[in-house]
């Protein structure tokens, strides 16, 4: 059994699990959900006819039809393109986004030996090497101390996909799209990184797994919604969401695509090569949702659900250097029920945030290129800097008086 747990705890297994189990299905479904949701917002019905025999499911299987269509299309490569880079660009667009999922904690740590029992949180804090806590499976592919920096670094690489696609296409419009893509990414990377700086200062870590289990204040349980960063860092949430949506290169920030003017860096692409760009965009939506969930909305935490069950009231106790939430009214739940609820909570939060991003995309008109740059450099960047300083000041005062 230990071997099985070791395999499950292997980063490769976990990465496959999260990509195949959460990201790919969600991103594929988003291709249908986007068209259906936009239809609903515009008093239309949207795609609802794809069916396998009598199974229609409101057209959910449209994504299968789309995939079959794109895969079976002619793989057309224009004569004058740079063939190697032309083929490489879609991979460069999609790979970094999939890699970045490594830092997302999509569930709590599972202790297989006490799976059916109620988890003893005091014993876990004071003696984590005990046999009943052995072979633990941490539902996060890689926990780096520099976690979110890794995400910034890797996602910047996705930029090369668009730029190289534009250059390799040997098409002026594609090149313009590629250049616009890199200028937009560069402008918004800065604001995006800085907008999270306040969160790092407040929590004292860059590691997303730690941010989820710690919360903003050690005086409250991490499962308390008031301890999630959306309340403490609301301006940062607004700034980060704006910059992150700009990173996905979708409306209202679809300057690189610029359908009415230049059609975008993938103008020469067709079939599944184009489909990969499209899929990368949707995976990026899922990723942005996962990051916002993790940083601002408590990740996999269910409101008031601690590791041993639902707890109302109680207080934080220092056990062997760890803050443990004890006392209060407790509804005891077995470990597997707690983890299942927490996994479901993470999925639900991600889906809701995806929905919200689609709402934004179908509500707002697009920016002009100059408005885009103004917003990025003259509004988001100074606001993020100011908020970082305010948070630092707050943290300094709070630490001085022992509030947190």
């Amino acid at each position: 059994m230990s071997i099985l747990y070791a395999i499950l705890d292997n980063p490769a297994t976990k990465w496959l699990l999260v990509v195949m189990g959460l990201v790919m299905p969600l991103a594929s479904l988003l291709t249908w959900a986007e068209r259906r949701q936009s239809a609903m917002m515009q008093d239309r019905l949207g795609p609802n006819r794809a069916n396998i025999g009598p199974i229609k499911l409101k057209g959910i299987i449209h994504f299968v039809a789309d995939a079959v269509k794109m895969i079976s299309k002619e793989d057309f490569i224009p004569g004058s393109v740079h063939r190697g880079l032309f083929a490489l660009a879609p991979i460069l667009a999609i790979a970094p986004v999939l890699i970045a999922f490594a830092i997302i904690p999509f569930g709590p740590t599972i202790f297989p030996h006490s799976y059916t029992a109620n988890l003893d949180v005091v014993a876990l804090a004071s003696d984590p090497t005990n046999h009943s806590f052995a072979d633990s499976i941490r539902l996060q592919v890689a926990s780096f101390d520099y976690g979110l920096l890794f995400y910034f670094a890797v996602l910047t690489l996705a930029n090369y996909g668009g730029t190289i696609a534009g250059w390799a296409s040997y098409n002026k419009w594609a090149l313009l799209g590629g250049l616009r893509s890199s200028s937009q990414m560069m402008s918004y990377e800065v604001a995006m990184g800085l907008s999270l700086m306040g969160c790092f200062i407040l929590v004292g870590s860059l590691e997303p797994g730690f941010m989820v289990t710690a919360g903003a204040s050690s005086k409250l349980s991490a499962s308390n919604p008031l301890n999630w960063l959306w309340l403490w860092q609301f301006p940062a949430l607004l700034l980060f969401m704006t910059a992150a949506i700009a990173e996905t290169k979708r409306a209202p920030f679809d300057i690189p695509e610029g359908e009415p003017e230049i059609i975008g860096y993938f103008v020469e692409y067709s079939g599944m090569r184009w489909g990969i760009f499209f899929l990368a965009e949707f995976i990026e939506i899922v990723f942005i949702s996962a990051i916002i969930t993790t940083v601002f909305f408590g990740g996999w935490q269910v409101p008031f659900l601690d590791a041993d069950g639902f707890r109302i009231g109680g207080h934080m106790v220092d056990v062997a250097g760890q803050q443990v939430h004890l006392g209060g009214w407790l509804l005891k739940l077995p470990h597997f029920a707690v983890t299942a609820l927490q996994l479901a909570a993470f999925g639900l939060k991600v889906v809701l945030l995806c929905w919200f991003q689609l709402m934004i995309r179908w509500t707002l008109p697009r920016f002009r290129a100059d408005q885009l740059m103004n917003l990025g450099w003259k509004v988001l960047l100074p606001a993020a800097l100011g908020w970082t300083m305010l948070t630092a000041l707050f943290k300094l005062v709070a630490m001085n008086y022992g509030w947190m």
Binding site: Q37, M40, M41, Q42, D43, R44, L45, L238, M359, I360, W362, T363, L364, L375
Partner: protein
């Protein structure tokens, strides 16, 4: 100077932007007050909130509400109660009701005894702007009728559905009241409606089984009788 120019120059100041100053050299050159959006309006955050409110309202209503029935959609009825705003009519299963005077596929009318009413007078091919009607006349067996069409063909691909042939016909032989569209075809030649095909098209969207027109017309009071 035309009268329209004079009208423009002396338009009342209340219509249009507020005029701050008028040039003494040319009265057409004016300084106007440009109305810029207020800070609250120009602030993207507020506009985003308002816009999201509107789209969210539509989304929720259309997601949870019931669709109006096809009859209600056709009648243009406003949604009531829990009905949503979706206007889509799902075509093959549901259909838009065409107006009474909708011009559809042509049909040739018959006399009481089943012969074609057309007397090959050549009015319709003459008036047809698309030159899509071909008639070859022949001697009629009926002593009271001079001619009848040996060939009567309409190329539905060339037809512009203007209805002038129906207007031109002196003996109610050709009508466009079938209420159906020309059918899609795989070869262009198949879109040519022959005499036999045209005689077989039923009228009134298939409600009347035959295409017999009463001799002498339906009478002066046909409209009230229908």
């Amino acid at each position: 100077m035309g009268s329209s120019h004079a009208h423009d120059d002396h338009a009342p100041a209340t219509a249009g932007p507020k005029v701050l100053a008028v040039s003494t050299v040319s009265p057409k050159v004016r300084t106007i007050a440009v109305v810029r959006p207020s800070d609250a309006e120009a602030n993207y955050l507020g506009a985003t909130k308002t816009g999201l409110g509107i789209t969210l309202k539509h989304f929720a209503k259309n997601l949870f509400g019931r669709r109006r029935t096809v009859a209600q959609l056709n009648a243009g009825a406003a949604p009531v109660g829990l009905q949503n705003d979706i206007e889509t009519i799902q075509y093959p299963e549901e259909k838009v009701v065409y107006p009474e005077r909708f011009r559809g596929l042509h049909r040739l009318m018959q006399r009481d005894d089943g012969q074609v009413r057309c007397v090959a007078c050549m009015c319709c091919p003459t008036v047809c702007p698309a030159n899509c009607i071909t008639i070859i006349p022949e001697q009629s067996d009926d002593k009271g009728i001079e001619k009848r069409p040996a060939v009567f063909e309409i190329d539905e691909l060339r037809c512009v559905v203007c209805g002038l042939c129906v207007e031109a016909c002196p003996c109610d032989a050709i009508r466009m009241d079938s209420g159906v569209h020309a059918k899609p075809v795989e070869e262009r030649g198949h879109a040519v409606m022959t005499k036999a095909k045209l005689l077989a098209v039923s009228g009134d969207n298939g409600k009347s089984p035959t295409s017999i027109a009463v001799q002498g017309g339906a009478g002066a009071d046909w409209r009230t009788k229908a």
